[in-house]
């Protein structure tokens, strides 16, 4: 059912835009794209929109999956993919590239490099927590604090670069920071990262459940906590790096979607991991469709839409939870 929802969201994204397509046009255009020769105007539009929608889907799924994994790793339902500064590293890299170079690929590469550099630094500094068996309650304060400090260091660098940037570059930098899918196309690497991480997650889902429930005592149930923590860290760092290099730091998907899924389906990671991936993807596709059509032909950065939807949804959920 969730897969159906995802496909529907992508089809909607293809149909809606500054030039709306009727359903018959859409079907004809889809057929042309499938055959690989988009020649009519509609088909070219669909081709463009489909690429962007797929990219949005992968990015959304990646962020949501990273969120679920980060929350399990830190045993904290309020954690999100950006809390450990991985995205901050990406932002420093991307802004530096925006400041110094012009080619689009340098931005993505620099973002990815920045994210990976911070991940390695974080891993080295917080090795102790990732090894496990340090705190009886299963918390990872060293990892969390190190991450938060690195994140604030990165945001200081971001502020510095924004303040010295020339006027004509500023707009692109701000758009990157809010998170923007315009000009993004379907790519294989993020897709592979997402599939790989999801495969690992589903395989380890039972172990993740046991760790989420019992913290360090999960060892007594046969879980290799140290290995599981390391792998979860690796996966969520890779996912975050992949998502932010694709589309900038889009907020709230990694926090809201896991929460909504937990609310709907319960905290069992065997369901949660695949469901959050699909819902996250569909959510971002729809948010991006809104972002590029609501004041068309002007385009909004999608991060604004996710935050505008995310904040009230989150508050509503929080209140309903308190009432029960």
């Amino acid at each position: 059912m969730l897969s159906l929802l995802s496909v529907l969201s992508i089809i909607t994204a293809c149909a809606v835009g500054s030039v709306a397509l009727s359903s018959s046009d859409l079907v004809a255009a889809m057929r042309e794209v499938m055959h690989g020769h988009p020649s009519s105007m509609a088909a070219t539009l669909v081709d463009l929109r489909l690429g962007r929608a797929l990219s949005a889907f992968i990015t959304g799924g990646t962020l949501a999956l990273a969120g679920v994994m980060m929350q399990a790793l830190l045993r904290n339902p309020l954690a999100e993919p950006y809390v450990l500064g991985v995205s901050g590293g990406a932002a420093v890299g991307a802004l530096l590239a925006l400041l110094l170079f012009t080619a689009a690929w340098t931005v993505d590469a620099a973002a990815c490099g920045g994210a990976l550099a911070i991940s390695v630094l974080l891993y080295l500094l917080a090795r102790h927590d990732l090894r496990g068996v340090s705190h009886a309650d299963g918390s990872t304060p060293l990892l969390l604090l190190t991450g938060v400090i690195l994140a604030s260091g990165c945001s200081a660098l971001v502020a510095l670069m924004l303040s010295i940037a020339p006027e004509n570059r500023l707009r692109g930098m701000v758009f990157w920071l809010i998170g923007d899918l315009s000009g993004s196309q379907f790519r294989w690497l993020p897709t592979l990262v997402l599939c790989g991480a999801l495969a690992f997650g589903v395989r380890a889902a039972r172990g993740i459940n046991v760790m989420a429930m019992h913290a360090d005592a999960a060892i007594a149930l046969g879980i290799d906590i140290a290995a599981l923590r390391r792998n979860l860290f690796l996966c969520s760092a890779l996912l975050t790096a992949s998502a932010v290099s694709n589309a900038g730091s889009i907020g709230f998907v990694g926090l809201i979607v896991p929460h909504a899924c937990r609310f709907l389906l319960g905290p069992d990671h065997r369901l949660l991991l695949p469901a959050a991936t699909l819902i996250g993807g569909a959510f971002l596709v729809l948010a991006d469709t809104v972002a590029r059509s609501i004041i068309a032909p002007q385009q909004l950065p999608v991060g604004v839409i996710t935050a505008l939807i995310g904040v009230p949804v989150f508050l509503l959920q929080l209140h309903q939870l308190r009432k029960r």
Binding site: R75, N76, P77, V133, A136, D137, G138, S139, A205, R206, G207, N209, V210, A212, M213, H214, A215, D216, A217, I219, A220, L221, G222, I223, D224, R262, G266, P267, D268, R270
Partner: protein
């Protein structure tokens, strides 16, 4: 299970020095000692959650660190002292998770596991809470759910850190009786930490006294749970009163 020259250090202090100790099937041990005497540290070391600072712990003549984790999880269960529930799992899910070591390959639990979980919930008198979110339970209810998970794990060796700390008096007695029954009728071994000398004396067959300075006394309760020795161990004089066929321990004024 036995320990060979086991040493435990915490923060530079020697808590247990050269402990040679054997727990046989059918024995119910109670570990007694002051706060900070190393009871929890000992239990975590026996469970394999922390490394020994010297000597070793052998389970079926195999060092505890050499066991594959999953196989070890089918041999010993561990109840930690406190619990922190970050996520809203329901009671049944929590107890089912204790069946994890029995089917690592399957994605979902089997009917058999569900039956084991339900039996355990019934035994701990928490079957009515099966659908509740663990975060909404009271301290005592949560403790009983945790013990139910331990029962569902169904291991020959059970290590419990203060199993009755949050329970009301009725459940204290029934949990202790259940543990004693497991040792007596099903030949399991139990090692528990308890501060309640009277309950311990009623159900335990043996006691291990940690003196806090490295020395230990291990043996059957009639030998070890003597007022003078207990007084030295706990750092407060202890009196004994006979009530019918029961022995009551009192702290002297």
């Amino acid at each position: 299970m036995r320990t060979v020259d086991l040493q435990l250090h915490v923060g530079g202090r020697v808590l247990v020095d050269a402990l040679n100790w054997r727990v046989n099937p059918g024995e119910c041990w109670c570990v007694i000692g002051r706060n900070g005497a190393g009871k929890t540290t000992l239990l975590r070391t026996l469970a394999g959650l922390r490394k020994a600072d010297g000597g070793k712990v052998l389970l079926q003549e195999r060092a505890i660190g050499d066991w594959p984790l999953a196989a070890l999880a089918r041999e010993r269960a561990f109840l930690p002292q406190g619990r922190s529930d970050a996520f809203g799992y329901c009671v049944t899910e929590t107890v089912l998770s204790a069946r994890h070591p029995y089917h690592e390959d399957a994605y979902w639990e089997s009917e058999e596991d569900l039956a084991a979980a339900q039996d355990a919930l019934q035994a701990m008198d928490v079957a009515a809470l099966a659908e509740r979110d663990v975060r909404s339970l009271s301290g005592g209810e949560r403790q009983r759910v945790a013990i139910a998970a331990l029962l569902a794990q169904d291991t020959p060796l059970l290590l419990l850190d203060e199993p009755t700390s949050a329970l009301d008096i009725g459940h204290q007695v029934s949990v202790m009786a259940l543990l004693a029954g497991l040792c007596r009728d099903r030949n399991k071994s139990v090692v528990m930490v308890s501060h309640d000398l009277n309950l311990a004396h009623r159900v335990a067959t043996h006691a291990l006294l940690l003196m806090g300075d490295g020395r230990c006394h291990a043996g059957p309760i009639e030998d070890v749970m003597q007022p003078a020795l207990l007084g030295a161990c706990l750092g407060h004089p202890i009196d004994v009163v006979r009530h019918g066929d029961r022995t009551i321990y009192l702290a002297k004024d």
